[in-house]
């Protein structure tokens, strides 16, 4: 060894600590967190601070690029380990369902009312139009989705669609199709809020229109109560979920259009997070709705029982979301 460099000596003295930290981080990140003993977990922040101070010394005295890059990457990894989230996925899920989600839903009650109002408005307009002239029906509901429920169908045929049974095997496919379809619409309503609320409002109104048009057709054939049961058994959950998705979209669009005193980016980020919490829950709700629609509705064919299920779900969701909570 010709010349002993200061930076070389510096490295030799501290190398062992760095390697130890690297090893602990490998185990932490690699999902082998349970193999870490208490002493090792306590050692991570200590080693992290030592390595961080090595980094700032190395930047001042060493010109070894390989060493600097190593220390930078090691410190970055350790930083995210020490200052990142420390809860496990399970803990996060638990606190999400018990607290964050209902709180977030409660906080966007204004947007929820607005989205609900637009859906009702759409339903009302379509209802009046179809009552007036059945030709409008085709405008609101595409042929493929109607599945023979159009105004030209006879009362027996309509009754058949309300109480007919799919084969028990078909139910799995049917339920999964409904779930993915609805979830996609909900995610779209949320994501489109980004374009300043307008597309979300259209989507909400259209959702209402389909309902209104169908209702008008069934009313003309005197099947209104049965139709109500058929829709509401899962519709309480599903319509509520889609309304919440729309509300989340409105929250984002509104923050973007009218950020108030914050910068636009800041307002968007904050609204985006609140809305995202609501949305994560909406997907779960739609899963429940898909099950109710795919299985519950096909297996429960009594209108009274359907209304009972609808009322129960309405009560449960209402209490879950809107019961009074202590302020944080």
């Amino acid at each position: 060894m010709g010349i002993v460099l200061k930076s070389h000596r510096f490295r030799r003295e501290r190398e062992a600590d760095w390697q130890r930290l690297e090893d602990l981080l490998d185990r932490f990140e690699g999902g082998r967190r349970s193999t870490l003993t208490n002493d090792e977990i306590i050692a991570i922040p200590v080693l992290y601070r030592a390595t961080l101070s090595s980094l700032s010394v190395a930047r001042a005295i060493s010109l070894d690029k390989g060493l600097l890059e190593y220390l930078e990457s090691l410190c970055t990894r350790a930083y995210f380990c020490v200052y990142g989230t420390r809860t496990t996925v399970i803990e996060r899920l638990a606190s999400f369902f018990a607290d964050e989600w209902p709180r977030a839903v409660q906080s966007i009650w204004r947007e929820t009312l607005f989205a609900g109002a637009i859906t009702l408005l759409g339903a009302f307009v379509a209802f009046v139009l179809v009552q007036h002239s059945p030709d409008w029906f085709g405008t609101f509901i595409p042929e493929g989705l109607a599945q023979g429920r159009g105004p030209s169908a006879s009362t027996t045929e309509l009754r058949e669609t309300l109480f007919g049974k799919h084969g028990a095997n078909g139910l799995t496919v049917f339920a999964t199709f409904l779930f993915t379809h609805n979830a996609q619409i909900a995610i779209l309503a949320f994501a489109l809020g980004f374009a300043c609320c307008l597309p979300t409002a259209l989507l909400m109104a259209y959702n209402g229109m389909m309902l209104g048009a169908l209702f008008a057709v069934f009313l003309q054939h005197g099947l209104a109560p049965e139709f109500g049961g058929w829709v509401l058994i899962h519709g309480v959950t599903e319509l509520f979920a889609v309304t919440l998705a729309g509300a989340a979209g409105f929250r984002i669009g509104w923050a973007l259009a009218f950020p108030g005193e914050r910068s636009r980016l800041e307002a968007l980020t904050q609204a985006g997070r609140e809305a995202a919490i609501v949305m994560a829950g909406v997907i779960v709700m739609l899963g429940c709705a898909g099950l109710l629609e795919g299985f519950g509705r096909q297996l429960i064919t009594s209108t009274v029982a359907r209304y009972a299920v609808a009322l129960t779900t309405a009560f449960l969701w209402g209490v879950f979301f809107y019961r009074p909570r202590a302020l944080t």
């Binding site: 070389h8 760095w18 005295i61 996060r92 996609q184 995202a276």
Partner: protein, 291 residues
Amino acid sequence: MSVAGSTLVRDTARPEAGARELVTPEGVDLRLKLADTGERAAAFLLDVGIILGSLVALTLLVFLGAWIGGTSAREFLPAIWLLGFFLLRNFYFMGFELSPCAATPGKRILGLRVTARNGGPLAAEAIFARNATRELEVFLPLTFLVTSGAAVDAWIDILGAVWCAVFVFFPLFNRDRLRIGDLVGGTWVVRAPRRGLRIDLADEAASPAIAFSPAALDAYGIKELNVLEDVLRRRDDATMAAVAERIRAKLGLKAREPAAEFLFAYYAALRGRLESRLLFGRRRRDKFDKD
């Protein structure tokens, strides 16, 4: 003198493009580097490949099971692809980004991770927001391209394509390479490669060091030292010979020892010289940086 000295000590190197400041509570700047758009696209394609691959594998498995059990698996096919693709598409990204690595396998392969823009902990809702928006950015345009056929006007087609292009190319048009999901979630994607500690090249210098004159050691600065380090770490004989020849020509030395031996000795000597000047507060950026 002392005032002038203190200004010189400061790292005068221009910040690299894509480097962002992240000062830890301990007061050290970690100098995060943002991932570039190409890396992120590659990571995304890898992830999509993994998702499709696992769906195909699942389908084959179900068919195999049905074949052994002697029933038809056709019934399950739509359920697998509809629900499976939906669940994987939405929860694959979220699940992996919630883990301590904060990266999907694709990102991990490319050495990337998702972090909060404010440097704080990465909240679950931020991850959900950035991934829910993916639907709008990627899968909506894809569905649009696939389904819009002869049924709609050319105008609607064009408008739709423009709408999609805005989202798809959004990361190319802002300084922080954010996609809309990053914007909404308050996140960005940074490079966090796992590097091992590599050997100290100064160890490799032969023990009876070749003596260099002070003038020879003043010929280069830090930038050239770093290039020399890269060359030595790569250990490509042809390159080393060429580099040794260039350096000897510049220093006016004759080729007495093998190229590798010469370069290692020169690296150690040059680094020693530049580092000792660094300790005195003089950071010599490159060979044009005169005292």
